[in-house]
């Protein structure tokens, strides 16, 4: 699929190579997410999904290739510039500031994204999405349960309605009921114009939400195509005798 000619894609990665010190993680990955588009990344452990997310949000600078946000070359820029350009990244796992309270965790990010006046309404929305967090707004985040920390991490990016939302292992550690709720919110903010880059283990969830699916393997893109065909592509890879992963 080509990006629409009129507007530059929100995220465009061109032949990106990336490494953690001596360990190379990505080999020439080219990927784009258009305005209002939802792209899902699937793949086995160690395939490079998280590395793609980290490069897209500026946490890991590419060694080669380029990262464009909204048509602007941001390769090698600091993560805070990505955030200011409208990229919000909910990393995998319990990515919260453990010594901060729930409220402080959200405020830190809302103060810049929503402005000083927007903090209050932002908090209200976050606690609306996840009432559990509202009950624990003054609790130290490190003492929350794993699922609650996950909610906190997501609440931050969901409320901000960024230009590009990157969610790593979106549903991992969440109860099914909450996952449904998260996907409902994603659907609605996508309607409001946010582009999505989702890393997901639940194939069906990803298929239902996303326009396109990317399959990754060994630090490279293995298959890119419409979400509906992803199931077949995945099955072919799992069961084909010629599969590189057997």
């Amino acid at each position: 699929m080509k990006p629409p000619d009129s507007a530059p894609p929100v995220l465009e990665m061109r032949s990106v190579e990336a490494a953690y010190g001596p360990f190379r993680a990505l080999f020439g990955v080219s990927l784009h997410v258009g305005e209002g588009e939802a792209v899902g990344i699937l793949g086995a452990n160690g395939a490079g999904k998280t590395a793609v997310a980290r490069v897209a949000s500026g946490l890991v600078p590419p060694n080669a290739g380029a990262v464009h946000i909204g048509g602007v070359d941001m390769s090698g820029e600091n993560a805070y510039k990505f955030a200011r350009a409208g990229v919000a990244h909910a990393p995998e796992g319990r990515s919260v500031l453990a010594t901060f309270t729930v409220r402080e965790n959200l405020e830190l990010s809302f103060r810049r994204a929503l402005g000083r006046r927007g903090v209050k309404s932002g908090l209200d929305r976050a606690f609306d999405f996840f009432p559990r967090l509202g009950e624990r707004r003054n609790q130290i985040a490190g003492t929350l349960s794993g699922g609650e920390q996950r909610m906190l991490s997501l609440a931050r990016v969901l409320v901000e309605e960024p230009r590009l939302l990157i969610a790593d292992e979106l549903s991992l550690g969440l109860a099914p009921i909450i996952i449904d709720e998260v996907y409902r919110i994603l659907e609605s903010i996508r309607g409001a114009g946010t582009s999505l880059l989702i890393i997901e283990q639940h194939v069906t969830y990803a298929q239902n939400l996303c326009d396109r699916i990317v399959l990754m393997d060994h630090g490279q893109l293995d298959w890119v195509g419409p979400a509906q065909q992803a199931g077949d592509a995945l099955a072919a890879r799992l069961f084909s005798p010629n599969s590189p992963r057997q």
């Binding site: 001596p22 600091n78 993560a79 805070y80 200011r84 500031l97 453990a98 901060f100 830190l108 990010s109």
Partner: protein, 708 residues
């Protein structure tokens, strides 16, 4: 009536304790501020305060500046500039380093910074020249609001600044974005950046702010001291840590309260404590000296008895996985011929050195070489506790002093042969070390370092004062004299004979240390150094190995201390074993190599031979045939060694195996690759890849997503 008088005594004690409490509070506030905004246990805080105080004093006194420009220069220009430089050149790169690594960096800075300052502005502390404060006539105009106890203007200024500082800083953290951001950067710079905040600027601001506060505190506090010297400020920081610990090290208002409580508590204790010394004269040194030691007892007590503070472990950065792993030290594998060559070279070097020392050296050089050998023995104790066990102990000086004092007491009182007494001293030190390690077993990292520092200062303030330790008043006048040993026909009064004895002891202790490293205890310690939790999960009990490590380390330190005292024929505690001195030992060993026996020997040589050979230019002058050929260089100040080794210790975070060890291994493996390229062996492949800039592992082996 009695009640009223008790009430008045109490009130007077409170007033009396307020000035010192305020000083503790000021430093505690600054310490907490730095800890909160940078995550660093900034033991160099005192050094920063000292620099501003001395610069202010120097500007007013030597350069004839008036108060305001001197204050602007020392507190609002130089102090934040130092903070910015430290942040930019060191601590920014250490944001995700462990707390222990940052602590060692701060200790290195604590050694280096005052020396750098003194060299830069040619400042020399002059005994008895009391610094002046910023308040006009601050020390001589008094106010007495209650008619019981007068406060000087200086003291009132300190109180005002401490109170306003606490309120302003608390408001900064409570109500402003920058306060929130500063805390966030400490915990996870990357999470902060993902919130769109420029982490570098925030941490630079934090360092400038806390350094300016350190400078302010320094200038305000300086008039309390008779002479402006850096160790006094370091002492004050340790006291202030006790106050900060009362506030769990994160609360500014509680740090203020902690400082005041400490001041008040000490004064109240002094007023009301029963005078046991009247009925038990042997307690006299205790009651006489307990006051300055109260903060150390409080600090030790809090660390050991208050579990909450131990649980205040550093919060892990959730984004730590983004950083590449630290570089591994180069491989030790090398061609057998090269190993043989290096050994032959070392051996011939030692033989020539021995020959030169035993035939050519005069009294002074013999003294220095012997001192190097004896100090190497002491430093092997640091190899055991810090190198093998990975624990930062700051009371090795106290253990060594125990050895020295035991020899002194046994020889002085009962005429015990000194060699026997030295062994006894080592065992006493081992017993003290083992006992001390039991309450601190559960402490790790930074907390252990603080607890041992508290012990060292307690030893310094109280234990040394007992006649059955330091010799009491008689030793004040006569010194703590120790005879040189005799062994049958052998008389070690001869300096060369004593050097031989020291060498024998060094060889014995070295082989003991190597045995320990390769034995069960050594391997257990290595596992514990990696991960205590992992070690426990495979059934290793940390307790036994820890106690053993402490006891062995204290034994070696005690033996070394005894040897040092015998060598100098005097214990000479303040010069040899005081807490600040022992701090420099750690810096030396860590910056050279904490994990090898050679490292300890090199550190011993560096302590005693580096200044005369390198700094005073003996070698240079010998090469040039005359000092006059390079005017303005000689004599080089011995302070340079504090600068050089202090700054080298800063590398601890990147190279915990030691700077010298790292570069030694690197150059040996390069040499190996160059000489024996045609005869490849296992050590080569990795090196060649590294030289070509290729990754160490193939992509197939990469596991970049950590599953939790």
């Amino acid at each position: 009536m009695i009640l009223a008088s008790v009430g008045e005594d109490f009130f007077r004690a409170i007033l009396q304790g307020t000035p010192s409490g305020t000083v503790f509070a000021l430093v505690a506030l600054g310490f907490v501020l730095t800890y909160k905004t940078s995550g660093v246990f900034n033991l160099a805080f005192g050094a920063q305060a000292y620099i501003s105080a001395a610069l202010y004093f120097h500007a007013v006194n030597q350069w004839g500046w008036s108060t305001v420009p001197a204050l602007l220069l020392s507190v609002f220009a130089v102090a934040p500039a130092i903070g910015l430089v430290l942040e930019r050149t060191m601590f920014r790169r250490l944001r995700t380093a462990s707390a222990v690594a940052k602590l060692v960096v701060a200790i290195g800075l604590n050694v280096a910074l005052p020396a750098i300052f003194e060299l830069a502005v040619r400042y020399e502390p002059v005994a008895g020249r009391t610094p002046t404060g910023i308040v006009p006539n601050g020390a001589s105009v008094f106010y007495d609001p209650f008619g019981i106890y007068p406060f000087s203007r200086d003291e009132l200024a300190q109180m005002a600044v401490a109170l306003c500082g606490a309120l302003l800083l608390a408001a900064l953290f409570r109500f402003t974005s920058i306060g929130l951001s500063m805390r966030a950067v400490v915990e996870s710079p990357r999470m902060t950046e993902m919130a769109g905040i420029r982490a570098d600027w925030v941490s630079a601001f934090a360092w400038a702010l806390s350094s300016a506060f350190a400078g302010m505190a320094g200038v305000l506090i300086a008039p309390r001291f008779n002479t402006l010297i850096a160790p006094d400020f370091f002492y004050l920081v340790v006291v202030a840590i006790a106050a900060a610990a009362i506030g769990r090290l994160v609360s500014l208002p509680r740090a203020l309260a902690g400082g005041l409580l400490l001041g008040w508590g000490t004064a109240v204790f002094n007023t009301f404590a029963p005078d046991w010394a009247e009925s038990f004269t042997f307690l006299e040194p205790l009651t006489d000296n307990i006051t300055p030691a109260i903060p150390f007892i409080v600090l030790f007590g809090i660390l050991v008895l208050w579990p909450a503070i131990r649980r205040l472990r550093e919060a892990n950065d959730p984004m730590a996985g983004v950083d590449p792993p630290p570089p591994a030290p180069p491989d030790y594998k090398r061609h057998p011929y090269l190993t043989m060559g290096i050994r032959a070279f070392t051996l011939s070097f030692l033989i020539i050195l021995g020959w030169v020392v035993f035939t050519q050296a005069d009294v002074r050089w013999l003294f220095l070489v012997t001192q190097a050998v004896v100090l190497s023995i002491v430093y092997l104790s640091i190899t055991v506790i810090t190198g093998f066990a990975g624990q930062i102990s700051l009371c090795q000086g106290a253990f060594a002093a125990i050895g020295g004092f035991t020899v002194f007491q046994m020889a002085d009182r009962w005429d015990v042969p000194v060699l026997l007494a030295a062994v006894a001293g080592a065992f006493v030190a081992a017993a003290v070390g083992g006992l001390l390690s039991i309450p601190v077993l559960r402490l790790g990292g930074v907390w252990l370092a603080l607890a041992t520092l508290a012990f060292a200062y307690f030893f310094d303030a109280v234990v040394v004062k007992f006649p059955w330790v330091g010799g009491g008043e008689t030793s004040l006048f006569q010194g703590t004299r120790i005879p040189r040993p005799h062994l049958g026909p052998l008389d070690f009064n001869d300096d060369k004979a004593f050097l031989v004895l020291a060498l024998i002891v060094l060889v014995v202790v070295s082989s003991l240390v190597i045995q320990l490293r390769e034995g069960t205890i050594g391997r257990t310690l290595r596992v514990l150094r990696g991960s205590e939790v992992a070690a426990e999960s495979i059934g290793i009990s940390p307790a036994k190995a820890r106690v053993a490590a402490f006891a062995v380390s204290a034994f070696i330190a005690g033996l070394g201390g005894a040897m040092l005292s015998m060598h100098q024929e005097n214990v000479n505690y303040p010069n040899n074993f005081a807490p600040a001195t022992a701090l420099f030992w750690l810096v030396l060993v860590v910056s050279l190599s904490a994990r090898t026996v050679e490292g300890a020997i090199q550190a011993g040589a560096a302590f005693s031979l580096f200044p005369p050979i390198i700094l005073n230019g003996t070698i240079l002058a010998w090469i040039l045939r005359a000092e006059e050929r390079v005017p303005g260089i000689f004599p080089v100040s011995p302070k340079w060694r504090f600068v050089l080794f202090g700054l080298a210790a800063v590398q601890y975070a990147r190279h915990p195996e030691g700077m010298l060890e790292f570069s030694k291994r690197r150059s040996i493996s390069r040499l190996d690759a160059r000489l024996f390229e045609k005869y490849p062996h296992a050590g080569h492949a990795k090196l060649r890849r590294a030289r070509r800039g290729e990754p160490a592992a193939r992509p197939e082996a990469v596991a970049e997503e950590s599953e939790s």
